[in-house]
């Protein structure tokens, strides 16, 4: 019975996330993320059907569906950048600049590789997926660095998506690199590692996205009261400074 349910476990977790998203109205806040989840669930169902009824087509179907999911991952990044930096226009401007810079670097790198006939990155599907995941990892690292540098408060929901997807992308890059390095001997471990990491991330998302949790807001007290507070504070500092100077002047 347990063996029968195991292939469906990821799909069940995904459907659970989608239902919770509908209930908590997070779906309206992060439509791209939930669209990604729905697409992944659909791809999994297609793969299960193909492996049971058209086994010879499984490999091409697997890679085509895999690339659809990887491409949609860029949509999640776009959405999470928008959600995290929504109330911080200065940081959003810096993020736009840095993302453009990172993508320009990748583009220039690709052009150099094409010019020097170093097309190894495009020669295999594994390399292609790894490169796409690497770009995603770079963009996620950039987003996380900006969040830390500018001390941007992020809620449990956005944090769950950002750090969860980040962990998933890093694990994917590591597993794909190991698969490329060790070859067929690593396939069993690669498969098990992929399933395990994927289910762990789904569990993390279930925990962080089960209800609406907005980012903590700093409540500014009325401007007038603040101004009086700071006027008092500045006067206090100036008086203390004056007292120190007076003390020094009176010393024999």
């Amino acid at each position: 019975m347990a063996a029968y349910f195991t292939p469906f476990l990821s799909t069940i977790l995904l459907l659970g996330l989608l239902i919770l998203g509908l209930r908590s109205r997070l779906l309206a806040l992060y439509p791209m993320f939930y669209f990604y989840l729905a697409t992944v669930a659909l791809c999994q169902l297609i793969r299960i059907a193909i492996i049971n009824y058209y086994k010879s087509y499984y490999l091409p179907v697997y890679w085509y569906t895999q690339f659809v999911c990887v491409a949609l991952g860029f949509g999640i990044l776009w959405e999470i950048y928008g959600a995290v930096f929504r109330h911080f226009p200065g940081t959003a401007r810096m993020a736009r600049f840095l993302v453009s810079f990172a993508l320009a670097t990748v583009l220039l790198n690709t052009l150099i590789q094409i010019a020097t006939a170093q097309s190894a990155g495009l020669s295999s599907v594994i390399s292609l997926e790894k490169n796409m995941r690497l770009v995603q990892a770079g963009l996620l690292a950039l987003g996380i660095a900006l969040v830390i540098h500018y001390e941007i408060p992020i809620g449990k929901n956005a944090g769950g998506i950002l750090y969860g997807y980040g962990a998933f992308v890093i694990t994917s890059v590591l597993l794909l690199s190991l698969r490329e390095h060790f070859g067929p001997s690593f396939y069993t471990w690669w498969d098990a590692g992929q399933v395990l990491s994927y289910r762990t991330i789904l569990a993390v998302w279930l925990y962080t996205l089960h209800s609406y949790c907005p980012a903590p807001k700093v409540v500014a007290s009325p401007a007038m009261a603040e101004d009086y507070y700071w006027l008092g504070k500045t006067t206090q500092t100036s008086l203390a400074k004056l007292k120190r100077s007076l003390g020094k002047a009176l010393q024999p």
Partner: protein, 192 residues
């Protein structure tokens, strides 16, 4: 080859961007005195407790006349006197580092909510902050290796850079509206 190409691409683009965005801002950085004073007022209105360490104190610590006086009147005390002044100079530099950290933190609070923040200004602030950090570390090394009296010129250099940095951060604060300023004050008070 792949990583080499990636590193080369990164360096070329970084040079082009820094050259294009930050360098003209660094060249045209000198603000008029009135604008600098206004910028400082803006800064004080956001963080009244942010006080730049005194330059008079630094010039007093590393005053060569004091050393000449000690040398001529009681040469036996020279070693202890230099040691004492070096300790004071290090404390002054530590105070500067603490001030720099706080100023950069305030800048991040201003920059993140500022819709009129330009990438060039932000890169410039980051560059000046980095240079200043380097100058302070170099000064501490200089005090340790060559003594406090040889490091007195570095103190005036650091103060000049601080002045420029404070003016840039202050002028950026001047572009915020009252609501944004109130939020920054609340943030600053919460972080203190």
């Amino acid at each position: 080859m792949t990583s080499l190409a990636l590193i080369a691409s990164f360096i070329v683009l970084a040079i082009l961007l820094i050259g294009g965005l930050a360098w003209p801002k660094i060249l045209n950085s000198s603000l008029p005195m009135k604008a600098k004073n206004e910028a400082r007022t803006q800064l004080m209105s956001l963080a009244g407790d942010l006080e730049l360490p005194s330059y008079v104190l630094a010039s007093g610590i590393s005053d060569p006349l004091d050393l000449q006086f000690v040398r001529s009147h009681s040469p036996k005390l020279e070693k202890a006197f230099i040691k004492d002044r070096a300790q004071l100079a290090r404390l002054w530099l530590q105070e500067n580092r603490y001030f720099l950290n706080r100023l950069m933190r305030l800048h991040r609070l201003i920059a993140r909510t500022n819709p009129s923040l330009s990438v060039g200004t932000e890169l410039r602030v980051m560059a000046i902050g980095g240079i200043l950090r380097g100058v302070l570390v170099a000064s501490e090394l200089l005090v340790l290796l060559a003594g406090p009296f040889r490091a007195r010129h570095v103190a005036s250099l650091a103060m000049g850079i601080f002045d420029d940095l404070s003016a840039t951060v202050g002028s950026l604060a001047g572009t915020l509206d009252a609501g944004q300023k109130a939020t920054i004050r609340a943030d600053w008070a919460r972080m203190a």
